[in-house]
C-alpha cells in the first residue's frame, strides 16, 4: 500500500522549455500562496527508473496539475510531438481511478477547445484555460483550489514580481540559468515557504 498522500502537495506536470518559464514560476508562486506545495519530476534525485520516480511522486501528492498547452510538435529540425505530459496524465488518471479518494487531477490549457482536438478522450472534463498568461494561471489556480483566505490575483502578482526580480540571484547561487534545475526549484520553494507566515492573507492588512 502506498503511503497517504500529502494533503497540500501538488504534482506539476508541465513542459520544461524556455517559453514556459514565466508560467512555471507563476504556478510555483500561485500554489504556495494558496498554501499548497508544488512538486516536479525534476526534483527527484536519479537512481531509480524515471517513470517509477514519477509515479511515486504522483502517489505522494493529493493533487496534480497537467498543463497540456504545449503538446504541439516542436520547431526543431526533427519535429516531434511532446508525449511526456499526456503520458504522465494517463498515469495519474489510472492512479486516481484505482484510488478515487486519494487524488484529484486538473487539466490546464492556454486555448479553449484545443484539448478536444489534441486529447478527445478527455471529453467530459473541462480544462482550466489560463490564456498563456501569468495572471491567467493565478486566476485558474484560484478557481481550481478554493480555500478560505486565499489572496487576490493582484496580491499574487506582487509576490510573482518580487520572486521574478530575485531569479538572477538564485541562478547565481546555483551556477545555472535553468529555472527547472532541481537546485533552482528548491531555492525558489525555500523563498516561498519563508512567506508561510504571510499566509493566509487574512493575516495581512487589507
Amino acid at each position: 500500500m502506498p503511503p497517504q498522500p500529502d494533503p497540500n502537495a501538488v504534482f506539476l506536470n508541465i513542459p520544461y522549455d524556455e517559453e514556459f518559464h514565466s508560467l512555471y514560476i507563476a504556478y510555483i508562486v500561485g500554489l504556495f500562496q494558496l498554501g499548497l506545495v508544488p512538486h516536479l519530476a525534476s526534483e527527484i534525485p536519479g537512481g531509480d527508473r524515471r517513470l517509477n520516480r514519477i509515479i511515486q511522486l504522483i502517489q505522494g501528492c493529493r493533487y496534480s496539475i497537467h498543463n497540456l498547452s504545449r503538446v504541439e510538435v516542436s520547431v526543431a529540425p526533427s519535429a516531434t510531438p511532446r508525449f511526456n505530459m499526456p503520458l504522465e496524465l494517463g498515469m495519474t488518471i489510472t492512479w486516481q481511478i484505482l484510488n478515487p479518494d486519494q487524488h484529484t487531477w486538473f487539466v490546464c490549457e492556454s486555448e479553449n477547445r484545443r484539448i478536444q482536438r489534441s486529447a478527445s478522450d478527455l471529453d467530459g472534463t473541462d480544462p482550466y484555460i489560463h490564456d498563456g498568461t501569468v495572471e491567467g494561471v493565478f486566476r485558474e489556480l484560484r478557481n481550481a483550489f478554493r480555500r478560505d483566505g486565499s489572496p487576490s490575483v493582484p496580491r499574487m502578482l506582487n509576490v510573482y514580481r518580487l520572486v521574478d526580480s530575485r531569479l538572477n540571484s538564485i541562478f547565481k547561487e546555483n551556477g545555472t540559468s535553468n529555472p527547472y534545475d532541481r537546485s533552482v526549484f528548491l531555492d525558489l520553494c525555500q523563498f516561498l515557504t519563508s512567506l508561510a507566515n504571510f499566509f493566509p492573507p487574512a493575516k495581512l492588512p487589507v
Partner: protein, 66 residues
C-alpha cells in the same frame, strides 16, 4: 462540462510542514537566509505601500462625499 474543484478545508500549512514536504535541508535554509530576509522585507514594504494607497483613496472618497 464539469471541472474538478478542490475545496480545501485543511489548515494552512506551516513553514516547517512545507519544508518537510520538499525535503529542504537546514544547511541550504541557512545559506539562503540573508536573501530570504531581504525578500520578505521587500514584500512587506510593497504590501504596506499598497495598503497606504488604498487607505488614501478611501479617505479621498470619504472627503468628497462629505
Amino acid at each position: 462540462m464539469p471541472r474538478p474543484v478542490a475545496h480545501i478545508t485543511a489548515p494552512w500549512p506551516t513553514q516547517e510542514e512545507m519544508e518537510k514536504s520538499l525535503g529542504i535541508s537546514k544547511a541550504r535554509k541557512r545559506a539562503l537566509q540573508p536573501l530570504v530576509d531581504e525578500f520578505k522585507a521587500q514584500l512587506s514594504r510593497l504590501e504596506e505601500s499598497q495598503v497606504t494607497t488604498i487607505e488614501r483613496e478611501k479617505r479621498r472618497k470619504r472627503a468628497s462625499a462629505a
